[in-house]
Each structure stands twice: as structure tokens, then as C-alpha cells.
Amino acid sequence: MIHSPYIRKPASVQRVMLNVLLALIPGIAAYVWQIGAGILVNLAIASVTAVAAEVLMLSLRKRPVMLAATDLSAVVTAWLVALAFPPIVPWWLTVFAVLVAIVAVKHLYGGLGQNPFNPAMAAYCTMIVAYPSLMSQWPVSGAVSFDTQLHLILGGLRELDAVTGATALDTLRTGLRGDTNVGELLQTSTYGLLGGRGWEWIAGGYLLGGLFLLLTRTITWHLPTGFLAGLAVTSGVFWLFHPDQFASPLFHLATGGAMLAAFFIVTDPVSGATTPRGKLIFAAGIGLIAYLIRAFGAYPEGIAFAVLLMNICVPLIDMKTQPAVFGHRGGPNS
């Protein structure tokens, strides 16, 4: 027998996931424009792999396949994997990463809603540890034609030195290990207006999509704000302290995966904190750790590790930040 309420808001997991995919489109468009259409191939490979893995795992786990396989959650994971990885990684690496994300991180923990770790970020960390060189080859904006990208993705072509440069973050790190200061470094061809050349536009695309998610109430402001503030404040402190040694907050916000992370990665509801205060703490923690890894760690980009580290803290954060319940908080009552 069905009980009240007898009416439901027309909402669905599918709709939520579709909103996320739609919101990614401006960023992807900027990506294609600045870096090349190779990313589309990666997105396709990742999506197909993800859905296939989802169907396989659901049937192995004897779960209703249709509904869960079409909820688009696997596609969201796939897109995030593709967008977080260098666009010229070989196809098998993308496939491997997506399998790690869907099979191990998602389904071995019990499927949608059960995974304590962000699947895309867990896959990123696995791959950067397993294939550090493949994972750090990023094409410079406009330097690699679609043809070459396609060869790099699908075939054995690996004459990379000619076509890739180190990322903005990477150059900054190696540069700063030497004698160069930030000001000089930012003059080099790796850099554009704010961050890595061409990447400002992509970051802007993600920002636009993020605003769409906020407007459609798919996400709340807490997570992006917490993350961006955490990153900006931490980098700001170091920058004020030593502007020659540390890049400005603006640089950090516009570079690497900061915008993608702010609106699409730290906002993963399943593996993140859920209370309003908890979300701020969780996201600010990611910003802080990501900066520390960027500035002092062994990897140029630290967001993925930061996310996993904060994922571990989620149960504690949620427990300690339970908001007061109606009628239990004093105020006019007391």
C-alpha cells in the first residue's frame, strides 16, 4: 500500500545528473576551442566504458539494470575522469581509469550512493601514481592539432617533447626550485592572462556551468565557496608573505583544475559532507590541502589527493556539524 505523501515533486536522480552534464558543456566547448577536439574522443571513450562497466556490475550484483544504468551517474563520473586527465592520454589509460572509478570505487563499495571516495578523483590518484609520465603530459594551447591528438590517444605515437609542455603549475614548481621568480615565470609562453595559456577560458566555462548549477539549485553555494575560499586564503597568505616565491591567489584559482573542482568535483554529494557547516569545512579543507600539495608536495596538482583525504574525514565532519533541530536551539525560546 502506498502511503502519504501522494504527490511528488517532478525530480529524479537522472535530472540531477543531466543538470551536471549540461553544466559541463560550456567548459567542454572552451576546451575544444583552446586545446582541441581530442577531448571529445576521450569523453566518448570514457562514457562508453562507464556505462558498460555499470551494466556489467549491476548484473553481476543482480540489481535492476535498466533504471540504474540510465541514471547518468556513471556518465558524470566518466566525464569528470576525462576532463581531469590530460587530453592526450592513450585510450587504454582512460578505460583503465574509468574501470577503477566505476568497478572498484563505486560498485565494490555498494554502488550509487555508497562510495566513500569520489570515484573520478580516486581514479586520478591511481593513475598518477601508476603512470606518472603519461599523466603529466599536457598539450600547450594550440600546439597540438586534432590529428596528432587523435594519434596520441588511439595509436602508439609518443613523440611528445615536440608537442607538449609542462603545465602552468608544473613550470611554476620547477621554476621556483631554480632561481627564477614568479614574475619572470609568468612571462613565459606557458602562461596566459591569469593561469596556464588558454586554460583561463576553460576555467571560465566551468564557472559559467557552476552558476547554472547554483541557479537550478542542483548544488548549494557552500561547497564551491568553501573550496575557492580555502584555496584563495591559503595561497593569499603565502603570496602576501613572499610574493616572489608564491603565485597569487588569482593564479591558483584560474589554473589547473580549480574551477572544475569547485563546481563539479567537491560538489559530489555522495562522498562529500552534507550539513551546511560541514560542507564549508570539507570544501575549505580541500582547498587548503590542494594548495599545500601544489606548493610543497611531490605533485604539481593536489586537488585529487586533497579530495580523497577530506573524503576520509566526512563522517567525522558530518557528525560534529549536525545543525540544531527546530525548537532545540534556544533563541526566542530561552
Partner: protein
């Protein structure tokens, strides 16, 4: 008065569907062939039947007497003959039976004698008794007895009249306010006086402009601090605690009554019924309800309590694809398991449901912890946490996360993109917890009973031992008597005590106490051989003879005569 509105967090905005029935003025529903009047019309209390089959009753005649603190009287809704007194199914999701009086109307609808009640000349207790005897209960749905809710008549600053009616589809309060605003306000001023409030605030959702206008016009002629306030249309703004919050900023926690915080809230229909009961002496025998949904002729009707729902449905003509009938609104109401059940005082709406109107929920998907439910919850709970805990049967945790603050408003289920029937999980968890509490208290009782039995057996054993010891002491005393040539001082004392029975009683009691003490303490005297016992008795007797010791003193105790020696 300048109204400052507070807001409550959460809430949802489902389609109101008020237009269907809002423009249909209140009509009297035709008399059914039978009225089935449940004797249970107020919260958790069943009235005692005072009529018998075959008896003729008049409209408003009492057929059930109030019993218990939460009881209210029940009345014949029309004149006619009592044809039966028995168990009938009630309008409840469980379809449980309750005791009902079945009345066959005689068609005359003749009132029993009733006079206005002079509540100004009466004491407060008399007025409250009048309300109880007129069967006045809250008509918002909870059917809490009004005379209980009116409390002590002091300590309350604000009376709130609830005209919010936030559930979709329901329009009976809207119509009542539009058509009988003056009577409602007259009732409200009586209530205000009875609870000793200074302010009267009437909250109405802003999607009922006509009701607001009517109530404002009527409020103009009422003395004192009266305000009609339009509140935002947001379900569940009509929840008592939410309405109090919106209008006064006060938050009433779970398990507390508004009275503790200086506010009390009554439904507009209740105020109307209070007015009828005091100004006209009319008991509550009918109420206004909405018939709507998948029907050809939605409307609002004044319906006699006890009218079978099936009879009412003929008035609104449900369409052929109707598959269920709901009582109450779609957010908190329930599907009637059968249609021969009667209208009760809490019935505010009957909705014919069709799959097109209320489609079955899409299949349940896993919770993605999106937090939508938490944003919608007016009790500011974390519904998905409650869901995980309830699902895992971790009821302790669920209680820690304030499960019992959940008002079962359904907002969380309404918004959940995974279509999880969250409220059902809470209902399940709550009923499990209640069942366990009952089991626990039953177990506690059993344990208490067991422990008491042990205690009793122990006590009986001790008493038996005491009796035996006393007997032994008696024997010893007798032996001592026999051996004694002179009467013992104790005997002398006893004989002198005979003159004073009180003294004798005290002495006897003392002796008994000493004997008992002996039984307890002088364990080493128990296993003695008859010879040794005799010897001891002889020694005792000698001592007694020497007037050195009280014969009843325990044998093992150091003789008191030694004390002077030791101190000397």
C-alpha cells in the same frame, strides 16, 4: 499592529489545487440513511455509551459520556432511533474497529433543548465542562479536546487562530472564513478570554485573499489587539509549530505545548464550534469538509458526524478512473481502506484519487545524499541520516538524530530525487521503537514482579524464623519461670503493665522486637543440644533471679551488669 513575520526553514510548494473547490459555497449534505457515530471522537479517549438500541434520540442529545481527562461527550447528529451499538470500522489506515452508535434518522432533524451558556456568569471550570460536554475538539485534524488545551487560563500572551490550510486541495476552512467570519471571531474572542491572552493573531496563507478580506472585515468590530496576517503559502505553514514560528518567532520543541511558551493555537473551525457551543449551547454534531479530486462536482459541505463516506461520494460524483479515496490532504492524509466508514470530527477533506492525479511514485533509487530532503524539512532534521539509521534498524542513532521531532509532514519524500518513501521509514522506526518500549516496560514489570516474589519469599522465611525464635524464647522464659522461686522483674513489670494496656502493648512489641533481634543475631544458639540449651536457660534464670538481666535479652549478648565493673 505591525506584523513582523518570521520564517520557518524548509517547506515545499506543491500545486495548491484549491481552485477546484474554493468557489463552492458550503452546502448542507443530505441526510444519509444511517449515521454511524464513533464514540471515539477525541484524542485517545472513547466516550461511554449512554443510550441503548431502540431508544429515540434528538439532535444534539448526548449519546456518549466523556471519560478520562482527554474525553469529550458525543452527541446524536440528528433526531432518530438508535438501532445498534457495536463495533464498526473507523476511518483509519489500519481499518481498526471502534465502538459506534448507529442512528436511523427520523427525517425531522429535531433539536434537543439547548440554551445559550452564560459563560460570563459561570466559573471557568463550568465553562470548560460545557465545552467538554458539547464535544468540542480541535477540528484541524488532531481532535485534541479544547477544554484541555485551554489550560489554566493564565500565562498566555497570544492566541493564534490557524486559518493557514496549507495542504493542497483542502478548502473547508477557506470557505468557513469567507462565510462565517463573524462567528469565528466571536469564538476566537471567547477563546482569548478563556486562555487569558492579550493578543489575537489570525494567520491565513496569502493564497486565500477572500478569506483574509472577510476575516479582516469581521476583525474590525472586535475589541482589543486583533490582527489578521497573510502568511506566505508554503507547506506546512499550517502546522501548528510552523504557524507559531511564523507569527511569533517562538519555536515549540517536540513534546512541548505552546502554553509553555505563552502562545496557544486553535483552528478556525474550532473557534467556530466554540462559539456555537457557548453562544447557542449547540454540541458539535457536524463539520464542514471538502469533497474534491477526481470528481465531477467538487464542493464544500456541512456534514453530520457519522455520515458514511460512501454516501458523501454520491454528492461529488467521482469519475470512473478513481482508484482510491483519500481522507485529508495528499501530503499527510491516507487512503481509506474502505468507504463505509463514517465522517469524524477530524475529517476535513475527502479526495478521490486517480492514477493521473496522484501517479504511483517512480521506483525507489539509492540515496545520493544530495541533501534536498534536509533543505525541505521544516523540523530542520537530516532526513537522509534518519533514513540510513531507520533502514539499518539503528533506532538508537535515529533517536539521537531527533527522529521524534519529525512531524511526518512528507516534505522530504516530496522532494527526494531518488523517490525514497522517507516518511514510511520514519513511521516504521517510530513504531518499532514504541513496540520495543512496550516490550521493555513489560519486561521491567516482569522483572519487578520476579524481584518482589523473591523479596516476599525471603521475608516469609525471615518471619518464620522469627516466629520460631520467639517460640524458643518463650520456652526458655517458661523454663526460667518454673525454676525461679521469686517472680522475675520482667513479669512484675508485665503485671504492673496490665494496668496500662498501652504500656503493655509497647512492652510486648519491645519483647517481640528483641526476640526478632535474637533470632537474627544469636545464630550460635541455634544448633545447641537440648542439654546445653537447658544449661543456658538455667544460667539465664539465675541471672534473672539475681535481677541482673532482662529475660528477653539475647543469650549471647554480654550481660549488662559487666559494664559498671569495667568502668570502675
Amino acid at each position: 499592529m505591525i506584523a513582523r513575520l518570521f520564517n520557518f526553514r524548509g517547506g515545499v510548494k506543491p500545486d495548491a489545487h484549491k481552485n477546484e473547490s474554493a468557489n463552492a459555497s458550503i452546502q448542507a449534505a443530505p441526510m444519509p440513511a444511517h449515521l454511524i457515530v464513533p464514540l471515539r471522537q477525541s484524542t485517545r479517549a472513547t466516550a461511554r455509551c449512554i443510550v441503548s438500541p431502540g431508544q429515540h434520540v434528538l439532535k444534539g442529545e448526548r449519546i456518549g459520556e466523556a471519560e478520562g481527562t482527554l474525553g469529550t461527550a458525543v452527541h446524536a447528529p440528528t433526531s432518530g432511533t438508535v438501532v445498534e451499538f457495536g463495533l464498526y470500522p473507523l476511518a483509519h489506515p489500519s481499518g481498526l474497529n471502534t465502538r459506534c452508535v448507529v442512528i436511523e434518522p427520523d427525517g425531522e432533524d429535531r433539536w434537543a433543548d439547548h440554551q445559550p451558556f452564560d459563560y460570563h456568569g459561570a466559573t471557568r471550570e463550568q465553562t470548560l465542562a460545557q465545552l467538554r460536554d458539547c464535544g468540542i475538539v480541535g477540528l484541524g485534524g488532531a481532535t485534541f479536546p479544547s477544554h484541555v488545551k485551554l489550560g489554566r487560563g493564565s500565562g498566555i500572551d497570544t492566541l493564534i487562530l490557524n486559518g493557514a490550510e496549507c495542504e493542497p486541495w483542502i478548502t473547508c476552512d477557506d470557505r468557513l472564513m469567507r462565510e462565517r467570519a463573524a462567528d469565528i471571531l466571536a469564538g476566537a474572542t471567547i477563546l482569548r478570554e478563556l486562555i487569558g491572552a492579550r493578543r489575537l493573531v489570525i494567520g491565513i496563507e496569502d493564497n486565500k485573499p477572500e478569506a483574509i478580506a472577510a476575516m479582516q472585515a469581521a476583525a474590525g468590530s472586535v475589541e482589543g489587539d486583533v490582527a489578521v496576517i497573510a502568511i506566505p503559502s508554503l507547506y506546512p505553514a499550517g502546522g501548528e509549530k510552523q504557524l507559531i514560528r511564523v507569527l511569533t518567532g517562538v519555536e515549540i520543541p517536540y513534546g512541548k505545548l505552546g502554553a509553555e511558551f505563552g502562545v496557544q493555537c486553535f483552528n478556525v473551525g474550532t473557534a467556530h464550534a466554540v462559539y456555537r457551543a457557548l453562544a447557542h449551547g449547540e454540541p458539535l454534531v457536524s463539520r464542514v469538509l471538502t469533497l474534491t479530486g477526481n470528481v465531477a462536482r467538487p464542493g464544500n459541505y456541512e456534514v453530520l458526524i457519522g455520515t458514511p463516506i460512501s454516501h458523501l461520494l454520491t454528492l461529488c460524483e467521482p469519475k470512473p478512473d478513481t482508484d482510491r479515496t483519500l481522507m485529508g490532504g495528499p501530503m499527510m492524509g491516507f487512503a481509506l481502506p474502505r468507504l463505509d466508514v463514517p465522517v469524524v470530527k477530524g475529517t476535513n477533506c475527502i479526495i478521490s484519487a486517480s492514477p493521473a492525479l496522484f501517479p504511483p511514485p517512480p521506483p525507489e533509487q539509492p540515496c545520493i545524499r544530495c541533501g534536498e530532503c534536509a533543505r525541505a524539512c521544516p523540523a530542520e532534521l537530516q532526513p537522509f541520516e534518519l533514513y540510513w539509521f531507520s533502514r539499518a534498524h539503528n533506532f538508537g542513532k535515529a533517536q539521537e538524530y531527533n527522529l521524534f521531532d519529525c512531524i511526518e509532514c512528507g516534505c522530504c519524500s516530496y522532494v527526494c530525487p531518488s523517490h525514497i518513501p522517507l516518511v514510511d521509514y520514519y513511521r516504521f522506526a517510530k513504531s518499532e521503537i514504541w513496540a520495543r518500549e512496550r516490550e521493555k516496560s513489560a519486561a521491567d514489570q516482569a522483572r519487578d514482579r520476579f524481584e518482589f516474589r523473591n523479596f516476599r519469599q525471603e521475608r516469609e522465611k525471615e518471619e518464620k524464623a522469627a516466629k520460631l525464635a520467639a517460640k524458643a524464647a518463650e520456652t526458655r522464659a517458661k523454663l526460667a519461670d518454673k525454676d525461679a522461686t521469686a517472680p522475675a522483674p520482667a513479669a512484675a513489670a508485665a503485671s504492673s503493665g496490665e494496668e496500662d494496656p498501652k504500656k503493655a502493648l509497647i512492652a510486648a512489641a519491645l519483647a517481640r522486637a528483641k526476640a526478632q533481634k535474637e533470632a537474627v543475631q544469636a545464630r550460635n544458639t541455634e544448633a545447641l543440644s537440648p542439654d546445653t540449651e537447658k544449661e543456658i536457660a538455667e544460667i539465664d534464670a539465675r541471672r534473672i533471679k539475681a535481677a541482673l538481666v532482662d529475660p528477653a535479652a539475647p543469650a549471647g549478648e554480654p550481660p549488662s551488669e559487666r559494664s559498671p565493673e569495667s568502668t570502675s
